[in-house]
């Protein structure tokens, strides 16, 4: 089996760990939303390499498009910094 596509998935998976940790630890909630979107992009790459184009097509608009918009709206209507 070819090594190149699955090594792209491995790099994306390692990137998603960094993004998840920073999203959970960041005190600025707006930055947390951005890190969460980075994690979603890495997951979309993983889905594509694991041969699930249907999931990638539904995951990109939902988790990179609408969910960050909803969360930014939530942060704007509540408070920006976590205590």
């Amino acid at each position: 089996m070819e090594v190149v596509p699955i090594s792209i998935a491995a790099i994306a998976a390692l990137l998603s760990i960094v993004a998840t940790y920073l999203a959970v630890r960041s005190r600025d909630l707006l930055a947390a939303v951005v890190f969460s979107a980075v994690q979603s992009t890495a997951y979309a790459l993983i889905y594509y390499v694991l041969m699930a184009p249907d999931i990638a097509l539904v995951y990109i608009p939902v988790s990179v498009g609408i969910l960050p918009a909803v969360t930014v709206m939530l942060v704007k209507k509540t408070e920006r910094y976590e205590e």
């Binding site: 990137l15 960041s26 249907d54 608009p61 609408i66 709206m73």
Partner: protein, 270 residues
Amino acid sequence: MRLREVVVAVSVALMVLLLAYVVSAGGLGPLAPRELRELARSYLANAYNPWNVTQSSLSLEAVTAIVWDYRGIDTFFETSVLFASIVGVSLIFRGYRERPGIGGRGLSEIVKTSTRVLLPLILVAGVSIALHGHLTPGGGFQGGSFIAVLLVLATVVFSLDFLVERGLASGRLLALRSAGLLGVLATSVALLAVGLALGIDAYIFQNMVREGSELSMPQWLLDRPTGGTLLFFNVFEALAVAAGLALAFLVLSLREEEVGEAMAAGEWHE
């Protein structure tokens, strides 16, 4: 403080890398199987199988065939859950009404111009993905999410008034959402109704010719397979998902004055 967090995050990733090396060097580790299960092989072999039509849905795409044919009732009730949670969102902020022209001019002119170029492209991509759901990767859920992104983008960039002026207020979106759900329901019982009228046996969610029933949805549209009910399910589901998600986002992005009035009308007011 910030650098320390990044160092910790990168070291967690390095730990995972080393752990994977240790595990796979010992010959252990998760391994993708060589052979699929019997169920998966049956789905793959029967998704488009004109030599065995009674078990096939005549769709080139196996995932759409499973979502809307083999597991159609499951997906129908999942759509109902989607509808229920959209209704829940609008129930939380009940009594609201969009009022055009109270502040909110949107983003800068540069963003608006580039978004005007972008909106038709997203619309075409979403409609194409929904219509070709039985031929290429995609389907009703994917196309609906694309069109919902379009409406969310318009709400953010041009402000809430953009949608309200074009008649896409929340009442209209709820009507579109219900129309999509009713379309899914009508498609699922269409052959049953025909069978009742003609006095022939038929099933709910019947697509092609099945054992004990000769009725069938159209198999070809010009020179392309239609997948029978899958084409209609995809179109109606795209409508339902797009209108439902846009409605939920629109309610969540209501301005303070509108929500304040709605809250004052109900018992939620402090």
